[in-house]
Amino acid sequence: MSQKYEFSFPVKGDNFDDAGKASIQIKKRLKGLGITGDVLRRTAIAIYESEVNIISYARQGNINIRVTDDNISINIRDSGPGIADIKQAMQQGYSTANDRIRKMGFGAGMGLFNIKNCSDDFEILSKANKGTLLKILINR
């Protein structure tokens, strides 16, 4: 019988001390659903980079995860400034990160590229001043 699970985690922008907390909890939860190995790893890494981006660039956001027998689909939505030039943002090395982000070990312009690399399907939808939606699909 096919089962479906869906859950969400809120992420607060600018909350650098908590960066990664949602990702750790989501990983634990997915593990509990029997997801392991490379699939678990790629999912956790993609979510981590996304969480750091919300904290770095947006005021607040939400990570929504849907697990089916076939795949894991992750929607990451934020109400930040949006990404004006998505192609440029996707480029390795492009970054507008400030010192605080760099001190944490991020801000080298690798995040979105890493997310794409972990995904079987990846899409960014964004509108200036409205926010950003990342749609990540990982096959099980």
Binding site: D17, A19, G20, K21, S23, I24, K27, R41, A44, I45, Y48, E49, Q92, K103, M104, G105, F106, A108, M110, G111, F113, N114, N117
Partner: protein, 126 residues
């Protein structure tokens, strides 16, 4: 090498995970850039870094690092150590610099997680 042996080789202090040092380690990844750790570190590898914030522990948990080895004699803040204890990830601190630390481990048979990057997204494995 086991974490015990690594501790001895690098004259390191054990700051967390005292009871988890029997683990055998074959690979390591040295970085101060956490995006690179997320991209390239292999499960079971040891993370060698100069960063000390709690992020480092969360990243190690995400990529399943067997331990965190902090270089240049830095001592992480209490929250980092507390989180490492909670997530059961050993943290060691050595006075050797990143280059010396990596070189000494390599000379003792520890290898990197990947060999090199040939081009965008093109990883050359070991």
């Amino acid at each position: 090498m086991t974490l015990h042996e690594i501790r001895e080789l690098l004259d390191a202090r054990v700051l967390a995970g005292k009871n988890h040092l029997d683990v055998e380690v074959k690979t390591a990844f040295s970085a101060d850039l956490m995006s690179d750790v997320l991209a390239f570190a292999k499960p079971g590898s040891i993370m060698i870094t100069g960063l000390t914030n709690p992020q480092v522990v969360r990243i190690a948990s995400i990529v399943d690092n067997s331990a965190i080895l902090i270089v240049r004699g830095k001592i992480p803040p209490d929250e980092t150590i507390a989180l490492a204890e909670k997530l059961e990830i050993p943290v060691l601190s050595t006075k050797y610099i990143l280059f010396e630390t990596s070189g000494r481990l390599y000379a003792n048979g520890i290898v990197g997680c990947i060999r090199k990057i040939e081009g965008p997204g093109s990883v050359v494995p070991l």
